[in-house]
């Protein structure tokens, strides 16, 4: 069951954040917040117990303001889906500014100054590095199941870590910038139906297929992309596909931050920062 509501910014923003915190501390709701970080990806997973995972970090240190807005002052685990700068650009600032216990990435070396700076910061920290092996991260009562990346490819997008988020009967799937080859790989490993699907690769046409949507059968799709981005994301063809399958499609370029509040029975409330 999906219930949706909208909020007006900026005057209601603080009220919105406070309300979300209150719900989480009630002990019965898990949250996924897809952050509006412009053309990039960043999402927060917060357990009913207040444990926090950050999945990607947008392009720059602006992520810190997003985290502050949602009342987050420490990170239990930060996960970089893959080392493109629009996914890891803010990660160094996060690790320098907030307590972070664990960090995971796909272990694919990238030559950019962005990734090198992040690695050196990790080197100098006491953060525990995790490899993207087939494993489960128990974030309080929320389970994060790691789907190891395809590997053996020069296409960094197809090296994205997949992450299945489960809380009771609720589930969500985040796959970074995976393109068709990696989505097929995930399906071969046994991807099943989810409540919420993050559109891979910002709603690009090369990151969705009928088979993928048949396998995941999402009720809600969230596309993370920037306003008037130069790449034309989301692709109109891909957007039609998502709209055909899901009961609701949200976009961070139009909706701002998108918050999924999930109950243990699988029902979700969706609230957005902006009103369309």
């Amino acid at each position: 069951m999906t219930r949706t509501k909208s909020w007006v910014v900026p005057c209601c923003l603080l009220l919105f954040s406070a309300g979300a915190q209150q719900r989480a501390s009630d002990g019965d709701v898990a949250e996924i917040i897809f952050l509006d970080v412009g053309q990039g990806d960043a999402a927060i997973v917060r357990s009913p117990e207040g444990k926090v995972a950050l999945v990607d970090s947008g392009r720059d240190a602006g992520i810190l303001e997003s985290l502050r807005r949602h009342g987050i002052d420490s990170i239990d685990i930060a996960i970089a889906s893959h080392p493109h700068a629009d996914h890891i650009g803010g990660m160094e600032a996060v690790i320098r500014s907030l307590p972070v216990r664990y960090y995971m990435d796909n272990g694919v070396p990238h030559a950019t100054a962005t990734y090198r700076g992040l690695l050196r910061t990790l080197q100098q920290s006491d953060v525990t590095y995790l490899q993207a092996t087939s494993r489960t991260i128990n974030l309080g009562s929320v389970k994060l199941t790691v789907l190891p990346p395809l590997g053996g490819t020069d296409n960094l997008n197809n090296g994205s870590i997949g992450l299945r988020v489960t809380y009771g009967d609720f589930s969500a799937l985040l796959t970074g910038d995976s393109e068709i080859d990696e989505l097929n790989h995930f399906m071969s490993q046994g991807v099943s139906q989810v409540t919420v699907l993050k559109a891979a690769h910002h709603g690009s046409r090369d990151a969705v297929s009928p088979a993928w949507l048949y396998a995941t059968k999402p009720d809600v799709v969230v596309i993370s992309c920037g306003r008037e981005n130069p790449y034309g994301y989301p692709n109109p063809w891909a957007l039609r596909y998502y709209e055909t399958v899901a009961s609701k499609v949200y976009r961070t370029d139009l909706d701002g931050d998108v918050t999924i509040a999930a109950a243990f029975d699988g029902s979700v409330d969706v609230s957005t920062q902006l009103r369309r």
Partner: protein, 91 residues
């Protein structure tokens, strides 16, 4: 005075390439202005033109520097990986 700067190809999207400078600045460059053999992760030496602007059309891939940086990243990842306790994680 430096006559060229290093930029690394972060990602290629259709006809655009996002390149990241050593200072962390990101520039979106038309793919057609860059060398034909461009791949993600390639390190470019980008000279200045006569007016002091970056001359992307004259950029060339520095394969040696590309490999050196990739190896350095690999070495740090391997070092960090020794911190991994293995198995499932309870938070």
């Amino acid at each position: 005075m430096r006559t060229e700067l290093y930029y690394t190809v972060d990602r290629i999207r259709k006809d655009r390439a996002a390149v990241v400078g050593d200072a962390g600045d990101e520039v979106d460059v038309p793919r057609a202005d860059l060398p034909a053999d461009l791949v993600e992760g390639a390190v470019l030496r980008v000279p200045f033109d006569e007016e002091g602007a970056l001359d992307w059309a004259a950029a060339r891939v520095d394969k040696e520097e590309t490999e050196r940086r990739r190896r350095e990243a690999q070495r740090i990842i391997e070092e960090l990986s020794r911190r991994d306790p293995g198995g499932d994680i309870e938070l």
